[in-house]
């Protein structure tokens, strides 16, 4: 039923499984090593659940040194490694393969240091995204990138995928908020890149590592920027008669010199799904909705909102609904952040993640609807309008193999469209296995060969997360 190919497992490694596990047992205590079939099953997929592969074994190291010993062992034995955080990748970035050891960093879950004068935190890489903000929130600070999975996802995974979130229009994505990492290279070497200073010397290897999808090394610690929370934040719901008018409104707001902290778009199907789940007071009789959030003091928010409402008035806005309390604000965001989960209650879905130039939003929305309809399926759209990062949710029935194939084909068509209008395949989820075979649509052979030769500097034998990101054929060219 699956259209994404996995490489054939290396029979030599499979044959040596007992020997390899014996070697691993010498490196880790038994409670940190998962070998039984039952327990390994918990690691056979991530949030791209239509695909799964049983890993050779799973290691749960407790220190950088243990990660180093594991990687050195795997390098010497020629064993492939799939790094894993919480396994929330929507792109299949953490899906194992039968001949690979999964190294999950979830036991590395301590916040090591909080430094308010420098506005930094140092954490082990297995801490969850949300726990960082929670630990500094009593003092009025937060960690900015806020992917929807922030309750579960780890910083290691965020760094691997360069995760974004709803608020990155103002605060940037992971790569803009990481100052340093401690990382273990495939040969076991431990390197510190960057630190608590604002910039690191030499080439920007930190920038290369963030978003490298676990192919350059395993990050065990990170130093992150934390920011002071604004005095207040208030989301406002705007309902529009069409996505065109919502899109034009977004462009006009930015044109007026206002960059709200978030501008989230939902179309009618998405509004209905999220409202049924969260009871957030979303307007049900509009074709498109924007959640626009502003920050500042009471007066500043009112001033900014007045300007935004005035602009919306020039774009046929039908409904304007301001949050009147912290509870309403929480509900409004709950509706948005649970969009994927709520959709999962009404149907199976695949979530696309292409980004398009914001001037192309209306066109791409229209074409997305047509594409999905042509496959006989339905789509709900939720996305970050300020930065053009789209998330069409293609609804289908996972138990119908034909429908799954149709859904995947529609998704691929949509991503190609995103590239064709000047955008990209993935804005924040990563390539993983899901978009691997579309990379040639965005990049030339020379572009890909260049990326692969840089990758090989860190992992010459292609042992780290090897089946991801780059098309399986043509790798020898690098």
């Amino acid at each position: 039923m699956s259209s994404i190919l996995f490489p054939k497992p290396d029979p030599g490694i499979l044959a040596r499984r007992d020997e390899i596990i014996a070697g691993l047992t010498r490196l880790l205590p038994s409670e940190c090593l998962i070998t039984s079939e039952d327990e390994r099953r918990a690691f056979e997929t991530d949030a791209l659940t239509a695909y799964r592969r049983m890993p050779l074994a799973v290691a749960l190291p407790r220190s950088t040194e243990e990660v180093s010993a594991l990687l050195a062992f795997c390098a010497a034995e020629g064993v492939k490694v799939v790094p894993r955080g919480a396994g929330t990748s929507l792109a299949g970035g953490a899906i194992p393969q039968e001949d690979a050891l999964v190294i999950a960093v979830t036991k590395l879950n301590k916040i090591l240091d909080v430094n308010y004068p420098n506005r930094t935190v140092r954490v082990q890489a297995g801490v969850t995204n949300l726990s960082i903000s929670e630990s500094v929130m009593p003092d009025g600070f937060f960690y900015a990138p806020d992917p929807s999975s922030q309750l579960a996802c780890t910083i290691a995974g965020n760094i691997g995928m360069n995760s974004g979130g709803a608020h990155c229009l103002k605060y940037g994505v992971t790569t803009n908020n990481v100052l340093g990492v401690r990382m273990v290279l495939m040969d076991g070497t431990i390197v510190d890149i960057g630190g608590d200073a604002l910039e690191a010397p030499g080439y920007d290897l930190l920038g290369l590592i963030v978003g490298s999808e676990g192919q350059l090394g395993i990050v065990t610690e990170a130093t992150l920027r934390i920011l002071r929370m604004a005095e207040g934040a208030r989301p406002v719901l705007f309902g529009f008669p069409s996505s065109e008018s919502a899109g034009a409104c977004v462009a006009a707001i930015i044109g007026a010199g206002i960059v709200p902290v978030a501008m989230e778009f939902m179309d009618k199907p998405a509004i209905a799904i999220c409202e049924a789940f969260a009871k957030a007071g979303y307007p049900l009789d509009v074709e498109a909705m924007l959640i626009i959030e502003v920050e500042g003091s009471e007066i500043e928010m009112e001033t900014q909102l007045a300007r935004i409402i005035e602009i919306a008035g020039k774009h046929d806005v039908q409904v304007v609904k301001e949050s009147r309390s912290a509870m309403e604000t929480a509900l409004i965001w709950k509706g948005r952040k649970s969009a994927f989960g709520a959709t999962g209650r009404v149907a199976d879905y695949i979530c696309m993640d292409g980004t398009v130039p914001t001037g192309q939003l209306s066109h791409v929305l229209k074409r997305t609807g047509e594409i999905v309809e042509s496959y006989g399926l339905r789509v709900a759209n939720v996305f970050h309008a300020g930065d053009g990062n789209m998330h069409p949710l293609i609804l289908y029935n996972v138990n119908d193999p034909a429908e799954q194939e149709q859904a995947e084909a529609a998704g691929m068509d949509i991503l190609k469209l995103c590239v064709d209008v000047g955008g990209c395949l993935t804005g924040e989820h990563g390539v993983g296995i899901e978009k691997r075979d579309l990379m040639r649509h965005q990049f030339t052979e020379a572009d890909l060969a260049q990326q692969m030769s840089v990758r090989a500097v860190f992992d010459k034998d292609w042992l780290l997360n090897p089946s991801k990101v780059f098309p399986l054929e043509g790798r020898n060219a690098a």
Partner: protein
Amino acid sequence: MSTLVPENENQAIEIVKDAKARRQPLAIEGGGTRAGLGRPMQTAAILSTQALSGIIFHEPAEMVIRARAGTPLAQVEAALASKGQVLPFEPMDHRGIFGSEAEPTIGAVAACNISGPRRIRNGAARDSLIGVRFINSAGEAINSGGRVMKNVTGLDLVKLQCGAWGTLGLLTEVTFKVIPASETEGALVLEGLDDTTAIAAMSAALGSPFEVSGAAHEPGAPARTILRIEHFSSSVDYRLGELEKLLSKFGRPRRLDRQASQALWRNIRDAASLNEDRSKALWRISVAPSQAPQVITTLSDKGLTFEYFFDWGGGLIWLSLPASGDASAVQIRAALSGTSGHATLVRAPLELRQSVEVFQPQSIAMMKLIQGVKASMDSAGIFNPGRMYAGV
């Protein structure tokens, strides 16, 4: 030395292929205003981006601009200003430091990761650079990134190019995310604080909700600690007022209006106070703000005489001293040991830059990665060889 001036990408590719075939290293040059920065290079010719010029597009509603690498920075900034936008990171102008005169280019801003005081709030050039097109030593034109600000497709070679000082290829096009220009700005000046107290005051301001976009401290008589707010005019008034309250324990600050603030921050951006005597060596030290006073104390205790000031809330130290001996490189770098800080010798005579590492020396493991990356993009070793590190 001859200067090669390709007028389009194809010509540039031919020049690169020829240089590779003849094993003749090239010195890449934009406006040449920063030519004095880096280790001396043994190059056969200058490859100038001067004629690879022009804005390819500026989409104000998308907050993005793409230009050819040789486009004068002034032209980019003027185009942005005409639509009420700016580069988020306030790139510094090195002409004051070097006494150079030509026009800095947007390509060099990308290649050298040139930022300014607003970096503390909006990130560096590397945080706004979202796409590059470059030519590698095989003569291939390579794209990385693109024109959209959220893009995690493939390895981020954009970041690698940013701050590689032209050692990883010839940039031909760069794409930056931009932001609306603030309606206005204002600043507060606290007088008479010592370094440690000034860092505490700046940390308090930067840890406030008021989005301080500049935080600098100049020691002297009297010492001045300067904080900037850029926003809508009503917000600037309100926020300066709130900051005054927040900082009351550090003294009663004086307010600067827009004009005075702009002039002051331009000088801070360009390290103008350390430019009177260009025969002196100029160091740029990056360090965690809380460690900055200790670095200064350590150097004073060693008997060094120097002038300095802090930007980035203490995260950046500009320091000038006589260009004799090793320009105190050993002592300065020793003062940073045990921190993640690092020092760059921005200005020094040629002879000095032949004997002193300009960029912070790296560990063996890191050097191996740096050399590997260099080889992966410039296997022929023809782009600015040795400018950052020997063999790189």
